[in-house]
């Protein structure tokens, strides 16, 4: 058993592998958001589907910091796909909290793992930050696109959307965690792959 606190190679490889799975899920869901009306659905589908890989990942987490690194990686991944760097500070905070939650349960509590999944999923909200909070600047640049159009878009991405989206992330993240836990029991533990 590795008793040191720092992350060793196996841990880092595990982080990379599971982040890759979640990144693939993200890549599959992103095309939906090309239509801004459907963009809020990121916060529904991504947390929901990443629940399974995340819960599996949590069973391999035994040190503080692994979920934080995963969140940072997802933020960097978004950076590489051209979605901006705003997710990074958010991911640092949510990853940290999720790590704390899992550690608090001594790495063996199912409920706290689901809670961690929920908090971790908040990284999805990061892509919306420029659209919601810097909307005025955004549309000032593109003022030639008609009153009604701007108002419509502003309507969709008003400030009140922020808590709604955050709530979505948390709720569907928790749901994803619950599903993940069940899938774990049904398949991974029964087969001994765990």
């Amino acid at each position: 058993m590795d008793r040191s606190k720092s992350l060793n190679s196996t841990d880092l490889i595990n982080i990379g592998v599971f982040t890759a799975i979640i990144a693939v899920i993200t890549l599959i869901v992103i095309p939906i958001g090309f239509l801004p009306v459907l963009m809020p659905l990121y916060c529904v589908f991504i947390p929901l589907f990443s629940g399974i890989p995340f819960m599996l990942f949590v069973t391999r987490v035994r040190k503080f910091g692994m979920i934080t690194v995963m969140s940072i990686l997802m933020a960097l991944f978004l950076l590489c796909t051209g979605m901006g760097w705003y997710t990074l500070p958010l991911a640092l905070i949510t990853g940290f909290i999720a790590d704390g939650l899992v550690k608090a349960g001594n790495y063996s509590s199912l409920k706290l793992s689901i809670a961690a999944c929920s908090v971790f999923s908040l990284w999805c909200f990061g892509s919306y930050i420029p659209l919601i909070f810097m909307a005025d600047q955004f549309w000032a640049e593109n003022a030639q696109y008609g009153e009604e159009f701007i108002n419509d878009s502003k309507d969709i991405f008003r400030l009140w959307m922020a808590p709604a989206l955050i709530a979505c992330c948390l709720v569907f993240g928790a749901l994803g965690g619950v599903i993940g836990g069940r899938v774990l029991k049904k398949h991974f533990i029964r087969s001994g792959i765990l």
């Binding site: 190679s9 196996t10 880092l12 979605m83 159009f149 419509d152 087969s191």
Partner: protein, 241 residues
């Protein structure tokens, strides 16, 4: 003598990283507004130029044509006509005009940089190992995950498993779970193999990729830094025009 040169792209990976950060900030984030409009236009066109120079002629030209078509369409379609379809079109158009350059930029960088060069750039920028190693594992695993996903998809087709027969939930379960099992097994084997190759030692890793800035790099870095500088200054109400 064997040399590993930057044959996969004429830009230093660090320049590419800078571009990855700058473009979305200006295009998606709308930094600078009207004031920095020329820069935004330049940035919108930049990805196509880069594609062209790196000899991806067809994608460069066709992508650029699509982009220009959308701009043109946006100019001739009456702005004030109402109606749902019209709005949807405008929204789609708007998103494409901004997202397309960013997406193309990202795709260009992905295609022309090897994972090794990327990691080398990050190590040169003093990014710690606990970020660079998982990052390279991520990119190494993407093709593997897609291969497993496709193979399992074929198996499902062969067994006749469709949402109609097993329900949506069942279908998703059968789609995701075997992929994860495969991936977990591969990850275990990969860890073992990497450890036998000395990963995780207390020694500082070296890198065979040599990085260096060329003329194109200086040009692009200057462009990005100028734009960012002007933007920051404009936040303090210091404008040059």
């Amino acid at each position: 003598m064997l040399t590993v040169d930057r044959s996969f792209g004429f830009l230093d990976p660090r320049t590419k990283l800078l571009l990855l950060v700058t473009l979305p900030t200006f295009l998606l984030g709308g930094a600078g507004g009207e004031y920095l409009k020329p820069f935004c236009m330049g940035f919108s066109v930049l990805p196509f130029v880069l594609l062209f120079i790196s000899r991806n002629y067809l994608p460069a030209v066709s992508g650029f044509l699509v982009f220009m078509l959308m701009q043109f369409a946006g100019m001739i379609i009456p702005r004030d006509a109402g109606g749902l379809v019209h709005n949807v079109f405008l929204i789609l158009y708007e998103v494409l005009c901004l997202l397309l350059p960013c997406g193309i930029m990202a795709a260009f960088i992905m295609r022309t940089t090897t994972v090794g060069e990327f990691i080398a750039a990050m190590e040169k920028l003093k990014v710690p190992q606990f970020i660079t190693i998982p990052f390279s594992v991520m990119f190494r695993f993407f093709p593997t995950i897609m291969e497993e996903y496709r193979s399992i998809g074929r198996a499902m087709k062969m067994r006749g498993i469709t949402p109609g027969k097993v329900g949506i939930a069942g279908f998703i379960e059968y789609r995701i779970v075997p992929v994860m099992m495969s991936v977990v097994i591969i990850a275990n084997e990969l860890s073992a193999a990497a450890l036998t190759k000395g990963l995780g030692g207390k020694i500082k890793r070296t890198c065979i990729h040599r990085l260096g800035f060329g003329f194109a790099d200086f040009l692009l870095i200057a462009l990005c830094v100028t734009a960012l500088l002007l933007f920051v200054l404009s936040l303090f109400d210091v404008r040059l025009w």
